[in-house]
Symmetry: C2
Subunit: 117 residues, 2 copies
DNA sequence: CTATCGTGCTACGTCTATCGTAGTACTTCT
DNA sequence: AGAAGTACTACGATAGACGTAGCACGATAG
């Protein structure tokens, strides 16, 4: 069964997260479920990958963290919102994706869905 | 200017090399030039990346190395040919690529080529 | 004759995104 | 009370990519 290896999705985890943050600010667990859902269960991001992406992107200024002040109690969530730099970065990654796709596809053979020919 | 980062092509260097070896056995320098040419100069594989891919793939049994017996003298080239396992692996990577593309594209916004609207 | 350029590698160390494992903490369901 | 779900953090390992450097040989130019 074909599944997505970390090496091929690498470099697009950030893009996926930013895409979801374009809609609205969110937090780890929610982002994780949204990725799973939007990818139709084809891809599930690992927790450690997700949180380290948050840390990295905040350090790079692509996202900002904040706490929901209304949260009465319970384990406090860390929310993230996208910054202008993040929006810019997202756009660049989209452009890069198109280029990458173009290049990779020159090396991919269309598999004629074979009837055992 | 948009260029392809190593993190996004990671995991497809092997695929590109194998694709070229499907055609015929080849060696480092030639593969390198073919990748550059076929990608229309959009991607140039680094020497170290290429040779470490050869080593890795030979260890994994996807390719086999041999020397050109006819080569009279000069620096001897190491040729590589693809194995059956390599052909199988290539096919899997092609299938994986399609899946990856499907997933990633759900997170990519089509950039309406803007006339500064 | 020497220098440079192109070809064809190898060695070695660094970087970094991802991931495995584990642990903490709080809530809700049973 | 215990388990399952939510919401993280810490720490170390892995592996592909890459920077730098060097070696070896042939051909071409000065």
């Amino acid at each position: 069964m074909v599944s997505i290896s970390s090496d091929v999705i690498r470099g697009y985890n950030d893009t996926m997260i930013l895409y979801l943050l374009l809609e609205r600010a969110s937090y780890g667990y929610e982002i994780s479920r949204q990725i799973k859902k939007l990818s139709e269960e084809k891809y599930v991001i690992k927790e450690t990958t997700l949180y380290s992406a948050f840390t990295r992107m905040e350090k790079n200024g692509y996202i900002e963290s904040f706490y929901d002040e209304d949260a009465s109690n319970g384990k406090r969530r860390t929310y993230y919102r996208i910054t202008d730099a993040g929006r810019q970065y997202y756009k660049e990654k989209c452009a890069e994706w198109k280029l990458t796709k173009e290049v990779v596809e020159k090396f991919i053979e269309e598999e004629q869905e074979n009837g055992d020919n």
